[in-house]
Symmetry: D2
Subunit: 356 residues, 4 copies
């Protein structure tokens, strides 16, 4: 289904080459401020055409709010919004129909929908579908300000270049870096690596890190709505995401309990830990330390290099070479999507707390 969330439900609709893409967020109480400029700022951060390392597709991606808003506040009905699709060129996609791109959903769309598949521009598998995710998440970020929750997302590793420092507690800081890797020197190294990959007609993946600060302790619902379950489920709907780890993640698999356990100490009436191997989550519930997770995003599957495939009609070997505009380093634009989705999930989990 095209819906995400427990207490608040995000539903997305539309497709890359249809007239609109949009979404609704149901379950919001009345009286929450809707700051359209703030939402648009986050949408602009995922917009195509921002620099040489993003696709040149020309879209202004302006949000139009069509429901749930009255005088700048939620009214208790679903917040509804749409984005008009403008710049799409169908002919680029003609020969993709029957020659599925390796690594792309072309093949699985065919399996699932057969002749009815909405394949033009990737249909609803397109990265454009992340616009409503950003809109819903940016709205949530606005609401989370009342808890002082801050979400920081950045490129941690790509093209063999990595950073390992704790990020600044600033939601905007990373957007001052041309690759979203918040280290002046490595940012520049990575930028050049991406340009080179573009020249080669290739694409690159990345590891993206997210730190959520000031999360109230006690968030997350046993048994099946742990913070990890909810975040991972949301993240894996972002196209291209293939891995997630919380805290020290895969490293924990080769650790001893005596190393892995984060010992507690008290400070200013709060219980803290000096290490954060658990990523701020114990038993699926937040413990007051920052929630930390890394995801891996695979390289964009659409590349200009010719690749082997199979023609769906003839079942004969074939080749495919992508000519349309595509993102050589989609991770650049995925950063605000992940950040926004983390906000959406946090708001949903906060609203899951029950009382009478």
């Amino acid at each position: 289904m095209f819906s995400l969330g427990n207490e608040i439900k995000l539903t997305v609709f539309g497709s890359s080459h249809g007239p609109y893409i949009g979404g609704t967020v149901d379950g919001l109480p009345a009286g929450l401020a809707i700051d359209q400029e703030f939402i648009q700022k986050w949408l602009d951060r995922r917009k195509p055409g921002q620099s040489l390392i993003t696709t040149p597709r020309n879209e202004d991606d302006k949000i139009e709010i069509i429901g749930g808003s009255r005088k700048g506040f939620t009214d208790g009905s679903p917040l509804a919004f749409i984005f008009k699709n403008k710049d799409y060129i169908d002919k680029h996609y003609d020969d993709l129909r029957d020659n599925p791109r390796p690594g792309h959903a072309d093949l699985t769309m065919f399996y699932k929908y057969g002749e009815y598949r909405n394949y033009e521009g990737g249909g609803f598998f397109s990265g454009r579908m992340t616009m409503p995710l950003v809109a819903a998440g940016a709205f949530a970020m606005g609401v989370l300000k009342r808890y002082n929750i801050k979400i920081v997302t950045y490129i941690k590793s790509a093209g063999g270049i990595s950073i390992d420092n704790e990020p600044q507690e600033d939601e905007d800081y990373v957007y001052g870096f041309s690759t979203r890797m918040p280290d002046r020197e490595k940012d520049s190294l990575l930028y050049n690596k991406i340009l080179e990959s573009i020249k080669n007609g290739d694409s690159m993946g990345s590891v993206i890190s997210t730190h959520i600060y000031n999360v109230p302790p006690g968030i997350g619902e046993p048994f099946f709505n742990s913070v990890e379950s909810e975040i991972s489920r949301a993240m894996f709907s972002i196209p291209g995401l293939k891995a997630i780890e919380f805290g020290s993640g895969f490293k924990l698999g080769n650790m001893y309990g005596s190393e892995a356990n984060d010992e507690f100490y008290a400070e200013n009436g709060k219980i803290l830990s000096r290490t954060n191997n658990s990523g701020g989550i114990l038993g699926g519930i937040t413990n007051g330390m920052p929630v930390v997770f890394n995801i891996a995003m695979k390289p964009t599957s659409s590349i200009r290099i010719s690749q082997k495939t199979v023609n769906l009609k003839s079942m004969e070997p074939s080749e495919v070479q992508v000519k349309g505009r595509h993102d050589p380093f989609i991770s650049f634009r995925a950063v605000p999507v992940i950040q926004a989705m983390a906000a959406f999930v946090m708001l949903d989990l906060i609203m899951c707390r029950k009382s009478l």
Copy 2:
């Protein structure tokens, strides 16, 4: 909430030191065979007391089916089952109440439930809650036989010891190894490492790999119920699980598209790929290749080594040392849980396919 699934819903109830633990599976059509012996076989594989490397807690963990079954077949009402708790010793837990164990849910239970927290034996955060997961999943494995789907789960890495070969396509094979690492030599090495860790009062984590064979292509639901979303959401409800990756997972973050994309070829009317970096999933939907994922399980947080904590009443520094029986290598018993949950998710996703 304590429910998982879309078309079929698993609900779990009970707790470690209550009278029963149980579960229901709602949404099953009538007429599916219920092979109680087969289900019990899988339950026995997660039972405590199987060897020196598991907790000696003495439970027989026999399933009692109390609803949804008539003459060995589902009847269209929820399959309901219970397990009686027998061997629990409350006094072990007395001083844990106010001295939360590092790495354990003790602290977050306190934040979430305050004085009402069901902390004895970990309450419903206990590993015993995975019994209904195995029951539901083993039932699903039985149903999946009609699709010839086979699920193989094994320890891939622990204590610095790793294996990297493709496993045998046999759901039972791994249970012939004393650590569930299916390599004679490394199994023995790991076994000794675990015994040593037990002697030290410590515990160990692991990386656990799962391969699902013969999955029909076209399984998985856009936009928010991708195979990755559904599997990860289910897995992260298993206590101690902190990371998941599909196919080449985190490695994809530092790869180029030209390496990462799995090129297609045709064989016997099927479209296959020689590499499987995508883990059998493209666009969130199965492509007919094996679905492959790794998870990381942290070491059991309960260890006999003394650790620093904070007393919840005094907010003063404190120490905690676990005396009750605990699992030094819980991964051993997690293997059938992961395998079963993978089956449950696959059955649910297969049932999500819509038609008229």
Copy 3:
């Protein structure tokens, strides 16, 4: 929440005096025909301004499909559609803000949303919100043609005038009558009665009957998704509906079992009954006889006659007299809404049948 349905989910959004009203239907398989003209025909049947007995509000209520459709067929993503609001006059509503109309949601909106209430034109309590219900239901009616299911809805009683004959098995027949009471003589009587009530500034209620023909037996899900539960839940979201009965309904309360039970006989390999006191539903599941239900719709609460109320600010006695355009006999326009919603529920229930 603003969502209805189990296997298919209708979500509605927007409000009377916002820019748009719209809806999405999620869960539809790909490949279902979308006949926009057919849908518009049903929308036109609920449009204002059709005759002297409906509100003169000037809206064209043209549906714009903005998602889920590709070349005239569903594509597996949510069918999404919007309606532009055009003709609204805010000044009519100024003094209603603090002087709640008796019988109207003005007061309960205030209780629920306080200063954030979207009261202009009734906000999302407006009858205009039934547009997406008709759109979704008319789409469902199109799909149900493959089962030969026919839904007939008509005014059974109003203003003391009643009919009691079995209706024609024709979905369109009733629209040839100026009041939707399918009896030439009584239609005319009722029409005059309504005109008189308009002259008096008053409004009228009705009892509306629905017969669903050719429903396959075995539809409806125990325990909580009986046909009665699903139909009633959907119907009671239509503004103004206050009662529902299936088959002989309230009469059954004073009957004996020997009278009430519909005896069975066989004909052409089908099991039928000569009476249909059960309204085609036994144990919450269809038995192959027509599904029959009556609903009562209260008179529109907005009338031109002055009525006593309480001023919300002063808590002093006050009076309110509605000057805006309102529907003196909203039942006229409710007929296609009920018919469409019945179709939506039937399609949803048909899709609930499980198999593997």
Copy 4:
């Protein structure tokens, strides 16, 4: 599905002739008192064998709480409970298998489940399935005491005998009457009428009225979770219920707006109305007046009088005459079921109110 509720979910399982019937209530916050004696009191009120006018089936219907409870309070996990089935006599049901009783679910079970149908004793269509409804609802009644909400349910009409007075605001009062019709004289008349009907081997229906006092205003969720939608959906899962009306219900269909609208006045800072045609609900939301609804329950379909049916194997005309123990006036035992379900729905709706 076998689940009801939005914020709290009741799931029922088991069947008439299986080992147990049970239920779970998920979504409850920790710290709510569980008064087992209070719950048992309500269960005893629906127990068979209470008097000459109920079935003599000998069950003690004692609740066993098996999850979600710790030291008399909810612990945040699902409240789980079971009832052991004791006294069932299979042979009574032998010839019913292929000769469906008119008015009963025998036929529709066959359509839906074929050879896998759980028909013995009505399977999960049995009135025994209302035990978990009463348990969940009685628990809810306990919680609602903090709001001072009082729910009164009574027989309003049966066998041609009716009462029309406003009931006492006392949840227990009606249980002092042998037929649950709270009028000394009419109670006695009705009692004799029922005895006579038993002698004739027949059964009787009824109209049952419910008044909910002290409901806070503002309860109920637009658009699809109106108070009417939620109550009706819950009520129609009670076997035998065929009609529901709120406030003046069907009478509203033949009224004018000027009569139907309940005019407002203020008293002690509250807005009230002298009439209550709307049954305390405007726009699907409570307005502070008592919530009032009537339901119609059909006569028990199982009667000792021989009735015409069709043999499912031969498709030839057949006769069926019920010999097992059945309830001649099931409404007697339905009273606490309706009362309890009303409580469950009110608690669920109260918990649906959103805030941050």
